[in-house]
C-alpha cells in the first residue's frame, strides 16, 4: 500500500525552544534568553497589543469576506506570535519577502490597511509600495519568494550593506524545489537571509507529516545552514530566535533557518472547509496553546496588564477594525483601461494597439455615469 508515512515525528513537541509556556509561565532557555534580555514588561505589552491588533484584522477581514466585500481572505488566526515576534526582531532596512498570509506583518510594517485588503478584494494585484516599507508584496506561488529573498541578500553583500532579508514560508512550501535551491544559493554565497518557516501543521488539507518525515528544522544543517526550532505560539521565543538569526546575518554569518511551530486555527482561506479533513481534538489541543492568552496570563500574573492598559490595547484594535472596514468598503474599482497599465515600462507596439482598439470599443458603449475609462497612461 502506497501511503504517505504520516510520521508524527514531523512535528514532535520536543526540542522546541520556548520562553513562555502555554499557561503563561516563564521558561528559561540558555540559548535564547540573551536575545531578549532587554525586553521589559512595557515592551511585552506592546507585543501583546500587536497580536491583539492583528487578530482583529483577521476577524474583521473574515467578516468582510462573508459580507461580500472581500473575494477571499487567508486567516492568520493562531499565528499571531510568529508574525509579531519575527517582524519585531527586524530593523526598518531589513527587507521582507512574505507569502500571502503575512498580512499582519504588512500592517505592522506600516502598510495601509485598505491597500492590504485591495488584493483580497480583487481591486488590485497588490496594495503597497515594496520600497516604501521594505517589504515585497504577497507571493502566491509557493516557495518562490525564498529565491527572491536570497537574491536580495546576495545584493546586500554586493552593496556592502549590513542589513538582511527574510523570507516567510509555510511547512508545505518546504517541499518545493525553489526552497531547496534557495538554501543552496544562500549557503554558497553566505547570503544574509533568514528563512522563517511557519509550520502551522497544514498545507490546505495536507498534514505536515506528508511534507516532512522528520522535523523541518533538520533540513537546513545539511546545507551548512544553522537552524532553530521554536514554539511559534510564543512571541518571545520567536522574537529571540529571529534576533539570533538577524545577528548572524548582520555579522557576516550568512543564512539561518527558523522553524516556528504553530498552528493554523482557521481555515486555509475563507474558501476552505477544514471540517472535511481535520478533527476537533487537534483544534482544542492547540486552542489551549493560544499565543495571545499566554502573554496576557504572563502579564496579568506580574500585575502588568491593568484595566487602562487593556483598554488601550482594545482601543487600538477597534481603531484598526474601523479603518480596515472603512478603507476596504471605499476602495474604488480600478478603471477599465488600467488593465493595460504597467505591463511594460515603456511603449509596446502590440499592446498599445490593443489598448487603442479596446478604448475605441468601450467608447462605443458611451458611459453616462461620468466614470473614466482611463488607466494611468492617460
Amino acid at each position: 500500500m502506497l501511503e504517505a508515512s504520516a510520521n508524527s515525528g514531523a512535528s514532535p513537541q520536543t526540542g522546541i525552544h520556548q520562553l513562555i509556556a502555554a499557561d503563561g509561565t516563564s521558561v528559561a532557555d540558555g540559548e535564547l534568553d540573551p536575545f531578549v534580555a532587554d525586553v521589559d514588561d512595557a515592551q511585552l505589552v506592546r507585543l501583546y497589543s500587536d497580536m491583539v491588533a492583528i487578530r482583529r484584522i483577521d476577524v474583521e477581514a473574515t467578516a468582510l469576506q462573508r459580507q461580500g466585500q472581500l473575494a477571499l481572505w487567508p486567516p492568520m488566526l493562531g499565528q499571531e506570535a510568529s508574525q509579531v515576534g519575527s517582524l519585531r526582531a527586524l530593523g526598518g532596512d531589513d527587507f521582507i519577502f512574505p507569502t500571502y498570509r503575512e498580512n499582519g506583518v504588512a500592517y505592522l510594517r506600516g502598510a495601509d490597511l485598505a491597500g492590504i485588503m485591495s488584493t483580497w478584494r480583487g481591486s488590485a494585484n497588490t496594495g503597497w509600495d515594496p520600497y516604501k516599507f521594505n517589504m515585497a508584496t504577497p507571493q502566491i506561488i509557493i516557495g518562490s519568494q525564498t529565491l527572491h529573498a536570497t537574491g536580495y541578500a546576495m545584493g546586500l553583500v554586493l552593496d556592502g550593506k549590513e542589513t538582511l532579508s527574510i523570507a516567510y514560508l509555510g511547512d508545505g512550501a518546504t517541499s518545493q524545489g525553489d526552497v531547496h535551491e534557495s538554501m543552496v544559493f544562500a549557503a554558497s554565497f553566505q547570503a544574509p537571509v533568514i528563512f522563517f518557516c511557519q509550520n502551522n501543521h497544514w498545507a490546505i488539507s495536507e498534514p505536515v507529516g506528508l511534507q516532512a518525515h522528520v522535523p523541518i528544522a533538520g533540513r537546513a544543517p545539511g546545507y551548512g545552514i544553522p537552524s532553530l526550532r521554536v514554539d511559534g505560539n510564543d512571541v518571545l521565543a520567536v522574537l529571540a530566535a529571529t534576533r539570533w538569526a538577524a545577528a548572524r546575518a548582520r555579522s557576516g554569518g550568512g543564512p539561518s533557518f527558523i522553524e516556528a511551530v504553530t498552528y493554523r486555527m482557521g481555515a486555509h482561506t475563507t474558501a476552505d472547509d477544514p471540517t472535511r479533513y481535520r478533527g476537533v481534538t487537534e483544534l482544542e489541543e492547540w486552542g489551549a496553546k493560544d499565543p495571545i492568552a499566554r502573554v496576557k496570563a504572563l502579564l496579568q500574573g506580574r500585575g502588568k496588564l491593568d484595566d487602562d492598559a487593556e483598554a488601550a490595547v482594545a482601543r487600538r484594535a477597534d481603531a484598526v477594525a474601523a479603518e480596515l472596514r472603512e478603507g476596504t468598503i471605499n476602495l474604488p474599482d480600478p478603471a477599465p483601461l488600467s488593465v493595460f497599465d504597467n505591463v511594460y515600462t515603456t511603449e509596446h507596439a502590440i499592446l498599445d494597439r490593443q489598448r487603442d482598439h479596446y478604448e475605441r470599443y468601450l467608447a462605443g458603449f458611451a458611459p453616462t455615469d461620468g466614470t473614466t475609462l482611463e488607466g494611468s497612461r492617460s
Binding site: 483580497w120 490546505i204 495536507e206 511534507q211 474599482d333 493595460f340 505591463v343 462605443g364
Partner: protein
C-alpha cells in the same frame, strides 16, 4: 442519462477509468481526504484507497516527475494540478520528459499520463488562479491537448485521455464547473466521437465562430444574440487543441468565408494564431475577410475586478463578428 455538473462528470469519468483499469492512479495536492479544492475527486480516496488516490507533497515538478516514473512502471497516472498558474514548476518535466520520452526511447517507453488542469478566469480569484496556459502545450510536440466544454464531453474525453497511450493535457474550464448537462455514463467509448475531433455545436451560415472550453457557452449565447440581429453564426467547439481537427472548420469556412476565433488566452501566439494561420492556408480562396481574433489581451491576468475587461464576452465576440462581416464595428475607420 444522468444530469451532472461538469465536476461530477469528471469525477464519474475518473471513477470509471479506475474501475476499468487497476493501473490508473490519481495524484495531486489535496485530492484525497479533501477531494480536491474543486471537489473533483470527491469520494475517490474513500472508494479506491490512498494507494490509488495519492495526496502528494506540495511540489508540481515532483508530481509530474514521479508520474513519469510510475508510467515507466506501467501505471497510467492522472495528475491534478490545483490551478492553471501552478503548472509552471512542472513545465520542465512536461516538456523535456513527458512529451519526449516515447520518441527518445524509440517507442519502447509509453507515457500515458493525463494531466488535469482547471484553467481560465472569470471566477473572481487572485493572481495565478485564472491563467490560460494551453498554448504552451499546444506548441510542445509529443503532447495531446484537450479541452472539454460540457459534462458529456468531459466524461468521454477524460476517459479517452486516460485510455490514450500518449500524454494528454486535459484543460477543464473551471468557471463552468457547476454547469449541468445530461451525461450518458454507460456509453460505449468505442462509439464516441474521436478524442481528436472538433464539432459544430451550432449550425449557421454567415460566420464561423471557433472556440473551446469556457467560451463555448458564451459563443452559443452570441449565436443566439446574433440570430436576433439576423446574423447566422456557426459555432465550432475545438475539443482537441492539439492536434487541431480542421475538418469541420474548413467545411464551415468554405461556406461562410468568414471566421472568428475566440479564447481567453492572450492574443499573441494564443491558439487563435494557429487557427487563423491554418485556416488561411487551407481556405485562402474561400475567405472573404481575414480571420478575426477575439481574445484576452497581451497582459498578465488582471485583478478580478478588471477581469471582465480582459475576457472576451458576448459583446466582444459580436464586435468581432461585425469585423469579419465588414459591418460597422470598433475597428471601423482604423487602418489595418
Amino acid at each position: 442519462m444522468s444530469r451532472l455538473t461538469l465536476t461530477q462528470a469528471i469525477n464519474a469519468g475518473l471513477r470509471k477509468a479506475m474501475e476499468d483499469d487497476p493501473k490508473v492512479v490519481l495524484m495531486g495536492e489535496d485530492i484525497g481526504t479533501l477531494g480536491g479544492v474543486f471537489r473533483v475527486t470527491d469520494g475517490l480516496m474513500k472508494d479506491f484507497g490512498s494507494h490509488r488516490v495519492i495526496d502528494t507533497p506540495l511540489a508540481e515538478s515532483a508530481i509530474i516527475g514521479t508520474a513519469v516514473g510510475l508510467a515507466y512502471r506501467g501505471f497510467r497516472p492522472v495528475c491534478e494540478i490545483q490551478f492553471d498558474g501552478f503548472i509552471y514548476p512542472g513545465f520542465d518535466q512536461i516538456v523535456s520528459q513527458v512529451a519526449k520520452l516515447h520518441m527518445r526511447t524509440h517507442g519502447q517507453v509509453r507515457m500515458p499520463l493525463t494531466i488535469r488542469v482547471p484553467f481560465g478566469g472569470g471566477i473572481g480569484s487572485p493572481e495565478h488562479h485564472s491563467e490560460s496556459p494551453e498554448a504552451y502545450f499546444v506548441h510542445t510536440s509529443g503532447l495531446r491537448v484537450i479541452s472539454a466544454s460540457n459534462p458529456q464531453d468531459a466524461y468521454t474525453l477524460l476517459r479517452q485521455a486516460i485510455a490514450c497511450d500518449d500524454p494528454v493535457m486535459f484543460f477543464e474550464p473551471k468557471r463552468r464547473y457547476h454547469a449541468k448537462g445530461e451525461v450518458d455514463l454507460d456509453a460505449d467509448l468505442t462509439r464516441a466521437p474521436a478524442m481528436g475531433a472538433s464539432r459544430v455545436v451550432h449550425a449557421g451560415t454567415d460566420v464561423t465562430l471557433v472556440t473551446y472550453g469556457p467560451l463555448v457557452a458564451t459563443a452559443l449565447d452570441a449565436a443566439k444574440a446574433a440570430a436576433d440581429d439576423g446574423i447566422s453564426l456557426e459555432v465550432v467547439d475545438l475539443r482537441s487543441l492539439s492536434p487541431l481537427d480542421y475538418g469541420p472548420i474548413e467545411e464551415s469556412v468554405r461556406r461562410t468565408g468568414r471566421v472568428v476565433i475566440t479564447h481567453e488566452a492572450s492574443e499573441t501566439l494564443g491558439l487563435g494564431a494557429e487557427v487563423a494561420a491554418g485556416i488561411t492556408e487551407r481556405c485562402f480562396n474561400y475567405l472573404e475577410a481575414a480571420p478575426v481574433r477575439v481574445t484576452g489581451f497581451d497582459i498578465p491576468y488582471p485583478p478580478s475586478k478588471l477581469e471582465k475587461h480582459h475576457l472576451p464576452d458576448l459583446d466582444r465576440m459580436l464586435d468581432g463578428v461585425d469585423r469579419a462581416l465588414g459591418r460597422p464595428n470598433s475597428l471601423s475607420g482604423l487602418e489595418g
